[in-house]
Amino acid sequence: MTGLIQVRGGRTVAKAVDRPWLLRAASIALVLGLWEWGGTIPVSIAFPKFSETLAAFAGMITDGTFAGAYAETAGPLIVGVSLTAVGGVLAGLVMGLSSRTEWLGLPVFIVLQASPSAAIIPLITFIYGIGFTAKVFAVVLLSAPVIVLNSYRGIANTPRSLLEMGDAFLAGRFKRIVKIVIPAGSGLIFAGLRLGLAQGFTGAVLAELLITPTGVGDLITFYRSVADYPRMFASILSIILVASVSVTLLQRLEQRLFRPEMRPA
């Protein structure tokens, strides 16, 4: 702690930079401290203290509330992200290899990525109703643009030198794709899948909040309606934690799997 305060000493600054976890922990402690303070004032009757939220969080883990809710949310999320992973990577591949398909498909995904998804999700019910399919579609709607566009960029930006090397070795089209193009784009494709999972999770929760209240979306709706604000905040906190932890783990996996030059900037 003193090392952080004595910023004039070059060694202490270096020490803090060398230990980024210390800064991260300080940042988290600051936010949680402000939260506790905000709940003590209180900011609003509906704003619980961090300690109350933490107690509710622990209670929801031990009584199985979270397990049941996340099991329900996981269904459409897994199906939706799996479908998009296969279809999205294929679409990106085709778009990256063919300029006609690129012109046909690229604008759709760029527009989709820029559009406000919360406004589109209620429209899904008109076509897919209110069941499982609608929620899967919400996941696909949110995760597809990032998966497709990342895959497309990974494929389209294959280094020219590698392609020329393939030509030199008289590689056929199929071999060029399998042995050069896909491996060269794999870093960006994986990054797309990682971000797609995060977007898909957002889609699943939005669908639960806006279409039918199930899973973790139902926890938020229900605890808000019965004014159990610590549990409502604990539900929201759980979403943030699940998203952060899963994306961080995937990022670590990405760093382990791919060479530095293949990782997205």
């Binding site: 609003s44 009757i45 209110i130 069941g131 039918t212 139902d218 709706t221 019965v226 004014a227 159990d228």
Partner: protein, 334 residues
Amino acid sequence: MTRFWVLATALVLLLAACGGDGDSGDGESGGSVRVALGDIESVETLALFIALDRVRDRGVEVDLTELADEDLANQAVVSGQADVGLGAPYALIEGSDAPLRIFCQLQAARFFVVADKADYPDWQSMNGETFTVHSRGSTTEALAKLVEQEEGIEFGEISYVEGSEVRATALLRGNVKATVLDIPNRNYVMAESPGTFHELPTPETKASDEVIFGNTEWLAANQETVQVLLEEILTVWRSMVDDPAFVQEERERLDLLNDLPAELEEQLLPYYEQGAEEGLFTQDCGSEAAARDDFEFYHEAGQLSGEPGELRVEDFWDLGPAQAAEDALAESGG
């Protein structure tokens, strides 16, 4: 110089007097009220809009904010961004000791259970079957529990679909086979697919579907405004039960909901006729009996954790303003 100040003071007083006349019109109050409505402009909210317009006519400044749902209306009142709200804030009052009090029941809970006639001819046939309600902890779920008690059945699964219009569409598409609907959507389903669906009988209750509530401090400091508000609500509610066409006439007179689509306009009169017939519109703001029924009903729904017999009416309701408004109307022959 003295003459100048005398003239100036006289002029200011004169202008103030003229201004006062102009502002209040033929009214007498001059207060203001900010209303938070957790709903959008529709056929169902038209009666409230009429009442609020009549409150304006009596010199009270009315600022109406439409919000996405009732919980937001509750929050708006709690945080002081609105003076009164519409909804059913029992859980909020009990759970957070929020300084809110209900001062009038606007609508009693009247439910219409519509089921596929062939699959579910009666309640007994629904034993072990799926029943669809609005959401967890909602009044429609409380109804499902009451039905289970009264009919001696147990639903296999309670599924949740928010929005009466969404459940009506799901019913017509065959996604759900039995659900709870409001009057417009019950009429819509019956008209769209005649002979396919029928209504199952529901338990009688005086519990509230919608009440008007306010911040306790504001209620105490603005008794005159509250009285004007309640007098107009009671007048409109009683007039539309006497003659449902009153709503139609007032809508035209006050030029309200003038962009209502033709198909919704057709639903207007039937909604108020059926609502009046079903006892939807409370004629006396509810009183203690309604509060007691609410305790039972919202306890069943999971919104109130306290035992209904142990809850105190004064912790949730302020019955004084409604009584004062009723007395004033009785005196004036209204």
